[in-house]
Subunit: 451 residues, 2 copies
């Protein structure tokens, strides 16, 4: 399961060049759609339509879903209307919706024109829900059963209608007015007697989500409850769709990447790094760099205010980077821990004082340890005067404690007022901690050294 070898590309390239299409087809049809899509990625674009046409209908659709937007758009532009129709109507509706959301308007028009009326209706239904909601990530293709059916009737219903459904492992039991009243797993169908009634074997305490729930919350529920699928209901508890575990995993992955980007002062993007142009990457990075650079004016002003003091004791300047860095690192440790805890629901706002008290104590431990180590180093290695060493070490203790407090409280405060805590990570924390550490440093230096 190592990453694909280059040689495979070359084999395909050679087969393509010598027009051995049936051998190519034999090679491709035993592969997983996701691997075929990766392979296609590395081949010359002009051979794609040809290669794609070699795939059997269902494999073609599954492979299409795994491709990135550029390749999808390229293929669609090369498709005849008949080919487009075939691919679109073979897709699961949630994948069709993703496609429609990503393609430019002209392509979307063609897609919707070629979609079967039923497919078009399902696509439009899902498109109504806000981005990042449970409604927007669900599929409307699921197996529904009625409470009065018996197991054998249910199984034959699955056999009749199951082919097109994204999962048949959870079947949803609904009343005549489409209210969700239970769930039956394929497992219990297979393990129950053929005469048993669905209402007797169904799980009637159903955990469901509302169409408007945030997709990250939905994804975290999969993690918590180990579900394979989760029903989505409207305000009246009518079943409108289901979310499956593979989509939940994708959402978790995306949201984590987004969090990490925010934590590094990057404006998040959904495109992979190597697929993003340099101007797009520049636009992701420059806003926060500018804001943080301007904010650092505060540090400059503090230093300017204490210019005379510094001129009198130039040795003090040498320790500014170390103090700011250590403060920044201490603050980041606290903020990253809290941000992650908040996003996994391991920490809640009600834990505010518990967190604060814990960070103060950890801050004291870290601060004192660092100051002690530094004191020895300052006197033995740097050979500074006793008073300067004392000023540096006292500042260190206070800075570390302050940093831990700031690093823990800013993310919690952000969450409380409805901001994303992830923004309150290293870069932002460092800027604040810099200001605090300089103020503390000069204050202490002024007192001890009588500047």
């Amino acid at each position: 399961m190592r990453p694909l070898q280059v040689s495979l590309d070359q084999v395909i390239q050679n087969l393509l060049n010598s027009k051995k299409y049936s051998s190519l087809r034999d090679m491709l049809i035993i592969m997983n759609p996701s691997d075929i899509a990766s392979l296609f990625q590395d081949l010359p674009v002009d051979s794609l339509p040809l290669l794609f046409r070699l795939l059997p209908k269902e494999l073609a659709a599954d492979t299409f879903v795994e491709m990135d937007e550029e390749m999808q758009e390229l293929l669609i532009q090369g498709f005849s209307d008949r080919e487009l129709k075939e691919v679109i109507n073979e897709l699961y509706v949630d994948d069709a919706v993703d496609l429609v959301e990503e393609m430019p308007a002209s392509v979307v028009k063609r897609i919707l024109r070629q979609a079967a009326p039923e497919m078009r209706k399902m696509i439009n239904d899902i498109l109504k829900y806000p981005e990042d909601s449970a409604g927007s990530m669900m599929t409307t293709e699921y197996v529904s059963l009625h409470p009065q059916m018996n197991v054998s009737q249910a199984l034959s219903r699955i056999r009749q209608t199951g082919v097109d459904k994204e999962t048949i492992y959870n079947c949803y039991v609904i009343t005549p007015d489409r209210k969700l009243c239970g769930i039956v797993s394929a497992r219990s169908l297979l393990l129950s007697s053929e005469q048993a009634l669905i209402e007797d074997i169904m799980e009637s305490h159903v955990i469901s989500v509302n169409t408007m729930m945030d997709q990250e919350e939905v994804a975290l529920m999969f993690n918590k409850y180990n579900f394979l699928a989760l029903p989505v209901v409207d305000q009246e508890n009518r079943l409108v769709g289901i979310v499956t575990v593979d989509d939940a995993m994708d959402v978790l992955q995306e949201e984590t990447t987004e969090d990490m980007e925010k934590m590094a002062a990057i404006v998040p993007s959904e495109r992979p790094y190597l697929k993003t142009g340099i101007f797009a990457t520049f636009r992701q990075r420059i806003p926060w760099l500018l804001v943080l650079m301007i904010s650092a004016t505060a540090s400059s002003m503090i230093i300017t205010a204490f210019e005379d003091a510094l001129a009198a004791q130039v040795a003090l300047t040498a320790f500014i980077p170390m103090l700011m860095n250590t403060g920044g690192n201490s603050g980041s440790q606290a903020s990253v821990t809290i941000i992650r805890g908040l996003s996994l629901n391991e920490i809640q706002y009600k834990d505010f004082f518990k967190v604060l008290w814990k960070e103060i104590r950890v801050g004291v431990l870290c601060g004192v340890t660092l100051a002690a180590a530094n004191y020895v180093k300052l006197l033995l290695l740097d050979r500074v005067s006793f008073l300067i060493a004392a000023a540096v070490c006292l500042t260190l203790v206070l800075t570390v404690i302050l940093s831990k407090i700031v690093g823990a409280l800013l993310p919690m405060g952000a969450k409380k007022i409805g901001l994303d805590p992830a923004v309150m990570a290293s870069p932002f924390i460092s800027t604040i901690v810099d200001i605090l550490s300089l103020l503390v440093y000069f204050q202490i230096a002024t007192l001890l050294l009588g500047l």
Copy 2:
């Protein structure tokens, strides 16, 4: 699906106090094991054994799995041998293994004594594999079929043996010498005719993983291929177990948290923040703080070396924090992007030069933009001399470019030599960038201002 209301705790507490056990049982049995475990977490520990005994056998085992270690240990210590036996033998073997790995030795002895011989053998088999390997996260409870069976025989085999299996949705087809030769999903069993032979409907191009594969790689395969389960084979392609999607999600979550912790210069731990004592948190945080603090000595030495220059031009000192911060932030942006890309396999080592070239160009764009903004600010707002403004802005351009290069290359280099790229994040990068930016700054200042 909001987090549980406090009132539920209170209801249970009241029912407990008034000894309404049958009502309590009625309340609990309709809940999901994961919710019951969260509820128990908030109740007084001495009521746990009693509450736990109210649960039916299977629900009790499922709830037990969802509890944290302390509660599990506490319960086990309160269990009679018969109770322990019941819970242990009701567990799926991978959960039993997790339990054995987490409990202290004395508890493990009791667990293994009470486990049925078959369960004990399975636990010991899995314990042989290294931590974090596919073997250690797999379960040995799966449905196996033979190629010559027909669908109806396969279904009746599932009915007979499926109850104890973690999943029946993927069945594994093995030859008499246990070699894995195919996979049949419950879906194709249900959708095929009863007479069809397994070997005709099975998928024979099986994607499997080796027992020794790293668990993060395994988990990422679930993401890539949208599997519900993945077979684990030994060196001779004999089937030894399966990994299920719920465990893959847990691994992804854990590995992401671990990455974030490393990126914030924290020694990773598997315990949630609020469950970690302050000394444990201190031990997670102090090592890197110490290392990075000592490393900052280099910055101090550079400043000391240029002490006379600084004394002559005190205004230069004021911009040190801004330069170091902007450099650090620029480097973090690059490093976090690359670290995430590497861990999702979106970036590989072969992309080295592509990444380098991209970061240089983005670095130039960001550097020039920041310098231009800063130049205006320096002249209009800070009213520094033209030469000082020029020195600061030139340094800014070079620092940002250098930071982007360092931020991108260190994680890739770490990966190449087998280190975890996540360590090469903000804190480490900042320390290096500080040194670089100071060197550049003083060099340029010396040249321009003739210090």
